[in-house]
Amino acid sequence: MDKGANAEIINHTNSIIEHFFRHESGKIMAHLTKRFGAAHFELVEDAVQDTLMKAMQVWPFKGIPDNPSAWIMTAARNRVIDGLRRTNRQDNLEALPVLNEAEPEKQQVYTEDELEDDMLRMMFNCCHPGLSPDSQLILTLKILCGFGKAEIASALLKNEEAVAKALSRGKKKLADLENELEVPAGHALGQRLNMVLSVLYLLFNEGYNASHGYKLVRKDLCLEAIRLCHLLLENKHCNLPHVKALLSLMYLQAARLDAKVDENGELIPLPAQNRSAWNKEMISRGIEYLIQSAEGNRLSEYHIQASIASCHALAKDDESTDWRAILRLYDSLMEVNPSPVVALNRVVAFYKVRGAEKALNELETVASSKQMKNYYLFYSVKAELLKENGQLSKAKQELNQAILLTKNESEQTFLSKKLQSLN
């Protein structure tokens, strides 16, 4: 009785949520790769692509099916089986029935738990130590998050060719590692989990630190990182304090995203942000997960960073922020991760507690690092401290010096504005 498009017959009651295709593609890639093996990766990818294309062509005429997830999964699975039959690359194909796309309710061949496990497995595979962190991130974005090559290139400020190369290298590596792709257990699980967390942290920061200006796709990166972190927590082996701490950190920072840029897409630093634009729901979740993370005997970097973020989140404005607490937290963070960036942020907290003159001395200890010499925010902070200390002309000098070193337009704009405000 398929009459196609007809005002009475097109089913308008079903709808699909935002990013549905993207999220489904990740789920299906994970499930079918597990089922048919990483050697058939390309086949699975093509099957998913063809399936989504078919949905795009047919659903407007026939309506969205009652169970769109099942429809897509079944159709993709059938395409993989067709592909395998064509190339004769799998035994026992007769045993695999081609399922009827029109009746997916009868074909519940997987459970929700199984799908989540498959996603987790795929996440762990994408973060295999045999791949560089960059490749791990690109694979995660492509396979788990369903981003296209151009979208990844745009998000990571790389050119498409570089992304394509990284992808084909990564996929080949996964195929080669086929036998090692079981999710590690015990101690090895902990190590791999830490790698996954670094990739999620990297993913989040790509979205958060929009140093080249804000694009909508960047916010999506933050939300993807949060989504995948939730997925980790749903697995009993990964439901650990430091994972909750990372999730807390991401929520607390993501809460500030809307206040981070002005109408021109330029960055607004934390002290100047309109706090009523901070997302209260996210702050609330961030605090909730921070509380939950306060167990066990291991203080991770994520715990400390989340705690710092919570100090800002709970403060009415820059002045009423508990800078002493933040300074203490940065002292702890320096023990775990003495990076120049952390040191610089600590100096800002130091200044708030002890004043500009003493902070300038602290800054000297950081200044010698090579990374600092080319870091535009270093000069911005130094100029700020000099200004507070009444040394206006020196402040201007620092900013001029910095502008010479900037790498992109956004940084230049930011520093030029600072310079203007000193005149």
């Binding site: 007809n6 295709f21 993207r22 407007p60 005429f61 296209g148 979208e151």
Partner: protein, 116 residues
């Protein structure tokens, strides 16, 4: 009101590798457009076409795989709508998302039994 056939050619995003997000956006545009036609009660029928087929030629004696027309010319589907006249029908077709991907719409009046 008369009936008009919309013949959709090209605009198949197959030519441009689209990401899942882009495909969803494009699909939702089509859905929105067709929903509007449905709400105005001018949508009569329509079907998408598979990208394969046969050509029967030479007096009906030859059957080959086809048509292998260029991407722009491949017919991807049709809609049958109601409009007051062909100008109105053409105007209605302008809202079709096929134009986002350089497709075309051929608008043809259905031959009626009217004696004029």
């Amino acid at each position: 009101m008369e009936e008009y056939l919309f013949i959709f050619r090209g605009g198949d995003a197959r030519e441009v590798q689209q990401s899942p997000e882009q495909m969803q956006e494009h699909m939702q545009k089509w859905m929105k457009w067709m929903e509007q036609l449905g709400q105005k009660e001018i949508l009569v029928a329509g079907q998408p076409l598979k990208n394969e087929g046969k050509m029967v030629t030479s007096g009906g004696s030859v059957v080959t795989d086809g048509p292998f027309a260029e991407g722009k010319e491949i017919v991807g589907g049709y809609l049958l709508i109601k409009a007051a006249n062909i100008e109105e029908a053409a105007e209605i077709s302008k809202g079709c998302p096929i134009f986002d991907h350089e497709g075309t719409v051929e608008v043809r009046p259905i031959q009626s039994m009217e004696m004029n």
